[in-house]
Symmetry: C2
Subunit: 441 residues, 2 copies
């Protein structure tokens, strides 16, 4: 078996055997398969694809390339959630304590943000004192005692994915469904999840710009879950405008707290209830999603959700008084409105552009080595469908360095498309994908 | 401009600008574009192709990556010939002195063999004393005095092609028409040719297994020639069985000498006359190919061709007495016949397999570092269409090391397909391709 033959086979549209995939992946990690062969192979996969069996085998080969977290000491079914990433996507901040409050075990590894999308770890670190680098012992203890811990990736997890992703990133081979799907799923599987709920974003702020592409990715990931015995449900959800209003680390924490208190934005609340009910169903805690949603609504209403958030923050060293006093979160020096120049209705908000605005202000990383300003960001004042009069604020910039504000204000204004007629309704959740098929919602 | 964007553009089917192609090629040679990006790009080209303008630009970018031979001091139009490589293809050994004898300037750089195909330099070195590493002065002097010199590649010619070919060779991206075409043409152009005659082989012993693929490659190369102002004519010719009878270095020299004396195999003679007449036409020495062929036939008949060969051999330090005494060429210790086991007609001879047999006996290189035995090889006793009786020799193995003969004998026998009926005629030259189109012959 040689890497050359494997590349040629894929180039010519063949399906690779489990042994061939394993040879390539382990060889790549060990260094015996050089970058240039892996790059040629990835481009061949871009064009020829992989069937569900191959994609599953690739996923498991990557899982085997490193350590795997054993959550066996924690009773019950461990259900993880993954979002393909969006702008203002603070779902995990809400969802993790929410489902933990009703008894779902949340043993979660999250990531940092890059480019126009934020990362859960960065957002959590806006809470004074909160640590995301727990020891394995602390992590497991917190999960056992509180049902919840959220940490950065520990140990030597999925090194093949890390190395392959870095290579794909510089060889224009990121945008391949089987490669994206196996990358996401390998991390979830290595993290020890029994069940996986996927939030696949679609629209201008998402990696997948069309619902069809998002659905295809969702199906590929659900198929991997089936192939490797991890029950997986995916929702294709809207990222054509930012989720909620806040974009920026501390700003998003604040919005998440408000949502856990029952006073959050409608779209964020609805998405968290829906994803949460799917997690409950996979954990075997409810029959139908509707039933789960009702239980979660009650947990918000009776204060259980926000109480769990406080306990979680405290257990990871954070100052849980932020819940009562939001000013304990990092605050930007200036809050500057961006005003509408015309009247009408908001037809669309270019989500990726909003994310870039927040990044420019310091809320996100332009490169891996950028330092973040956790206080800054953008808070939308209007969302799609809202009426707007000339002179109304469209958004507020929370800034510390006033040098970039005029440039960002222009970008922000440009991100809003305003028309004279009221636009039609837009769905928040497009479809639900399981091994049984696609259910349009 | 970044390599990433160029890869992505080609991946998505875009046509690269001359500046983008130059950026990639010069960056690759300089090391600023790493192997893995070039490999991903080559695979994208494999799938998306390149239009004739891009292929021409790639060719010239590769030419510019290194030195270019200036043949300006030699009067007249310099016409080069290139074969895409085959088994028993000793065409250059015959053609170069043949056309030089009638006044065509032959300033030729040739290559060595690898795998199942032989190389002109190796074959020439079977002539005792002959040097292929002339200095530039010796080269130009011989061309001026004799109309002919054949050397190995000198100077820093087309380093981009050398580096890209080595990368394609290990990333399964060799088999791409625009990449093959630009590789061949860049070397011919950098070597200073004004006109180029291409012998594009097709069939079981050729790189291009089908006539359609060979024709496509021929058209791509002719288009490059037009794009860069070097008149180019291509012939698609048969390599479904070895050319002539001899396969192996000294054995092929012997057959070439016999051909120059008018006693060569019919197919080799005919091919050399046809290619030679095309070279004469490009050099402006005859109007129609038929006229050129007649002049060349006369040069063989009146001894001018073999006289030029002797002068050429002597001028490069070789022993020209080999022409009168073929036993001065390296001789193998044993000549072992391989006998037919059944009677009938030869339907086909797997040319690549014959090439491999010769390689196994030591006539070819399995890897770049193999040493050659110039004396050994295979001489066919039968060719396609010949009648054969059980017990007749099909071929002779010329060997020095008798260890591998039984294995090779079995391979040789297997390369002959013998049927009971006489097979139909097979063309030697399928088509002639110029910028004006394809002429089926």
């Amino acid at each position: 078996m040689t890497a050359y033959d494997i590349i040629a086979k894929k180039r010519d549209g063949g399906a690779l055997s489990p042994a061939e995939i394993d040879f390539l992946v382990q060889g790549f990690v060990a260094g015996s398969v050089p970058d240039y062969q892996m790059a040629a192979w990835a481009m061949a996969v871009f064009f020829q694809g992989m069937n569900p069996r191959e994609t599953g085998d690739l996923t498991m080969a990557m899982v085997r390339s490193g350590d795997q977290i054993n959550l066996g000491s924690i009773p019950g079914r461990k259900v993880d959630k993954h979002s393909t990433g969006g702008v203002g996507d603070k779902t995990t901040l809400v969802l993790a304590p929410l489902v933990a409050a009703v008894g779902v075990t949340v043993a979660k590894m999250s990531g940092r943000g890059l480019g126009h999308t934020g990362g859960t770890l960065d957002k959590l670190e806006a809470i004074p004192g909160l640590r995301v680098n727990l020891t394995e012992d602390e992590f497991l203890t917190n999960v056992k005692n509180l049902n919840i811990a959220v940490v950065g990736q520990t140990g030597h997890l999925v090194p093949a994915d890390k190395k392959l992703y870095a290579l794909r990133d510089v060889t224009a081979t990121v945008n391949s469904i089987p490669l994206i799907a196996s990358s996401v799923m390998s991390k979830k599987i290595a993290s020890g999840a029994d069940g996986i709920v996927l939030d696949v974003k679609t629209g201008s702020g998402a990696f997948m710009k069309t619902t069809e592409a998002a659905q295809e990715l969702a199906q590929a990931m659900v198929a991997i879950g089936a192939h490797v015995g991890r029950e997986t449900v995916a929702l294709v959800t809207d990222m054509d405008q930012p989720l909620g209003f806040a974009v920026g680390n501390a700003l998003e924490v604040k919005e998440a707290i408000q949502t856990l208190q029952g006073a959050g934005p409608e779209d964020l609340t609805e998405l968290c209830l829906t994803l949460g009910s799917e997690m409950m169903a996979l954990a075997g805690m409810c029959e139908a999603a509707a039933q789960g949603k009702e239980i979660l609504r009650r947990a918000i209403a009776d204060g259980a959700a926000i109480a769990k958030f406080k306990a979680f923050v405290a257990a990871q060293g954070g100052d849980s008084k932020v819940v009562e006093d939001l000013t304990l979160l990092p605050q930007a020096k200036y809050v500057l409105p961006v005003l509408a120049e015309q009247s009408g209705f908001v037809h669309s908000i270019a989500a990726e552009e909003i994310g870039r605005c927040a990044m420019r202000l310091g809320a996100g990383r332009e490169t891996k080595d950028s330092t973040l300003d956790l206080a800054v960001g953008v808070v939308l004042a209007k969302k799609r469908g809202d009426a707007v009069s000339a002179g109304d604020p469209l958004a507020y910039m929370h800034v510390n360095d006033s040098g970039k504000t005029s440039e960002v204000a222009t970008m922000l204004k440009g991100a809003f498309a305003i028309g004279s007629d009221k636009p039609g309704e837009h769905a928040l959740i497009y479809s639900r994908i399981t091994i049984h098929g696609v259910e349009n919602l």
